[in-house]
Symmetry: C2
Subunit: 290 residues, 2 copies
């Protein structure tokens, strides 16, 4: 089965478990809405590609890990869009959760998605105790404090930001989780997979900076110019657009070079190249804001 | 070691792990602040009492379960106090987290506490795979959707509330988690412990309704009259103050009667009686609002 279909089936199962029986309808709807089609599914795709490159001998565990990771990512988007953070009205071309539903529902949807993520992995403990325990710990580490995406957002409330820690945790953490968890789901150690995730994360950050600086909000499906607006560091401000694109290319070459020896090494390099194509902004007409 | 000291040591360890090394300071501080002294620790005390009544043969697992449960409870308080929910300025006599820090920090603190809760249990999987897996699943069930405290809050966004489901999930869920997890941490089945938790939860709800209706905000350390204000069902509105107190007493007798046969049965009955004393409002001078 193609990775995307496997992932979608596992995600659908998790969402339907969370809405089973007597459940408050708006919150149940918001869980489906916030995880629905439109997302690039880039993190679970990386996770499942790494797992496949390592043999994928426990596909149900790979699927659970991919779903858990995407649920955390979706939770972070729902909370980051809230008025007290980015105050974004659109995401993936649709109204954000607090606009479509309400702020209380958006807070609760994010909370519920985090719980679902850990529940999805916990269900795998009886069959795969060692690997599932590692997956739970890796996901927690890359999500919470002091090193995960919560910490990354937390840095934005500090007067003095540790820029390295900020980028590693804010954007890098879930990419590191993707490659590490893909390896662990297939019975490998996590450590050799750290650098690949970190480099993809760096590339993603630069690409995101480029999109934020170069695109208009209609093309992007969400508000742009947010970094300038919130005074956040941005690679385009530091290096210029051409400099940032050159940096993106260099990081992705490094990512390919970092892939550990494994059966699916060539396939993974191809996956990184495809990710690169997807990430690199097509610099078209609307550049008026730079 | 007394239960309270064991619990505090385990909680301190979890909080200090979450602030280890390079971490954003405000968020790290907010984690300590939101889990700091002042809370009654009623849920972890129940959990540890049940575990002790069942032999407590894996005390480190009991401690982890108690900490995880309290972290979820604290997360729910931080998020419930937000302006989009209760908009509470004080809690336990101190400024709420979003007042003391900021709304972004309050959202992130709640998120981080949820992650820490599951991480705390996940750390126990290698040593106690079966029990820890059950504990993770029980905690997830009583926290998320469709039956946990997230669902409970979610019901408040529905035009038509299923009152039974609302109370079971909003207040009852974490008490059911307390008794079930206490049993499971000591190697027992969860099911025989469900009724005790459910009844303590019911009692707590009635006691909370009484406090909300009878106390002033200075005595209570948080805003009162919130049920009236938000149009939420309240036992005092339905039964009057005397009726509600009679109902509280009846529920607690039922709770004692529901305790499964175990070595610590008498100790547990005593624990429920003490909980009852603690819960029953001392109806003193300030009753002007009823």
């Amino acid at each position: 089965m193609p990775l995307q279909s496997r992932f979608q089936a596992a995600l659908d199962a998790a969402i339907s478990r969370a809405s089973d029986g007597i459940a408050p309808k708006h919150l149940a709807d918001a869980l489906a809405y916030s995880t629905g089609p439109g997302g690039a599914r880039i993190r679970p795709t990386i996770l499942m590609s790494v797992a496949r490159a390592c043999g994928d001998d426990a596909p149900e565990l790979t699927d659970a890990a991919a779903v858990a990771l995407e649920l955390i990512h979706c939770a972070s988007l729902v909370h980051d869009d809230l008025p007290c953070f980015d105050n974004a009205n659109t995401r993936r071309g649709k109204p954000t959760v607090h606009v479509a539903y309400s702020q209380p529902i958006a807070v609760l949807a994010g909370d519920s998605l985090i719980v679902m993520a850990f529940e999805t992995l916990a269900r795998q403990v009886p069959k795969h105790p060692e690997r599932a325990a590692q997956l739970l710990m890796l996901l927690a580490r890359q999500t919470g404090m002091p090193h995960g995406i919560c910490a990354g957002q937390g840095w934005e409330s500090e007067a003095k930001i540790d820029l390295g820690a900020y980028h590693r945790s804010k954007t890098g953490a879930l990419f590191v989780a993707a490659t590490q968890m893909g390896g662990v789901a297939s019975g490998q150690e996590s450590e050799p997979w750290t650098e690949l995730g970190a480099r993809i994360g760096e590339a993603f950050q630069v690409a995101d900076d480029l999109r934020d600086a170069l695109y208009d909000s209609e093309t992007l499906g969400k508000p742009v110019g947010q970094d300038d607006l919130h005074g956040r560091p941005n690679a385009v401000t530091q290096l210029g657009a051409d400099g940032a694109i050159a940096r993106l290319t260099a990081i992705l070459s490094g990512a390919i070079a970092s892939i550990p020896h494994c059966a699916g090494e060539a396939m993974l390099a191809e996956m990184v190249r495809k990710t690169a194509e997807r990430l690199t902004p097509v610099v078209t007409p609307v550049q008026s804001r730079v």
